[in-house]
């Protein structure tokens, strides 16, 4: 699953550690999500959406979508 997490984080001048801190996960988890190695759970996706004031679809993109 593609995502805009890295771009959104950079726009708000947040480090991975700060984003991890805001969403209650480890920095390793943020890094893995940004690199597309790990898909977050729905509750975590909602936390990102709330933090960036966006919808989940605006952050994450389903690669299988036609």
């Amino acid at each position: 699953m593609k995502n805009r997490l890295k771009v959104l984080r950079a726009e708000r001048d947040l480090t991975q550690a700060q984003l991890a801190s805001e969403t209650g996960v480890s920095r390793q988890t943020i890094n893995a999500i940004e690199k597309g190695k790990f898909d977050p759970s729905l509750p975590l996706a909602f936390r990102f959406a709330r933090l960036f004031d966006l919808t989940i679809e605006e952050i994450f993109e389903d690669e299988q979508e036609v």
Binding site: V25, Q28, N31, A32, F38
Partner: protein, 137 residues
């Protein structure tokens, strides 16, 4: 201001320390019952049973704190642990039965002690955790 992650980290650290304490207690109680029967109380049945019960109780405590430890991991860390436990279970069953078969069929000259299986489980868990962690780096 205390962030969500600060409290999560503190909770995670606390559960790791608790797990370490209970694991150490379990190992010590196992050593005590194993060597104590031989060296301290000369196989006195009542004392041996008492210390086996103590060992079982600390083992249950260790399991409870291991579950708490898993609950305090975040979702990626939990996935890594689950993958490692899956691999470890497979290695333990396949490796353990193969090792036992070697003993039963007299291919090996020594007994297939359970301690070898415990060592295999420990090594495969550590190895699996390291591999999974490097995959999500």
């Amino acid at each position: 201001m205390k962030t969500q992650n600060d409290s999560r980290c503190a909770e995670s650290r606390r559960s790791t320390v608790n797990l370490a304490i209970w694991t150490a207690a379990w190992v010590l109680s196992l050593a005590l019952v194993t060597f104590g029967a031989r060296c301290l109380w000369d196989f006195n049945m009542a004392l041996t049973i008492l210390f086996i019960l103590v060992n079982l109780a600390t083992g249950v405590g260790m399991l409870v704190y291991y579950v708490k430890y898993l609950r305090n991991l975040d979702e990626l860390q939990r996935k890594i642990s689950m993958e490692a436990m899956g691999v470890t279970l497979g290695v333990a069953v396949v490796g353990g039965l193969a090792f036992s078969t070697l003993d039963v069929t007299n291919v090996i000259s020594f007994d297939a002690e359970i301690s070898y299986l415990v060592i295999l489980i420990g090594i495969s868990y550590i190895f699996s955790i390291a591999v999974a962690n490097s995959r999500y780096k």
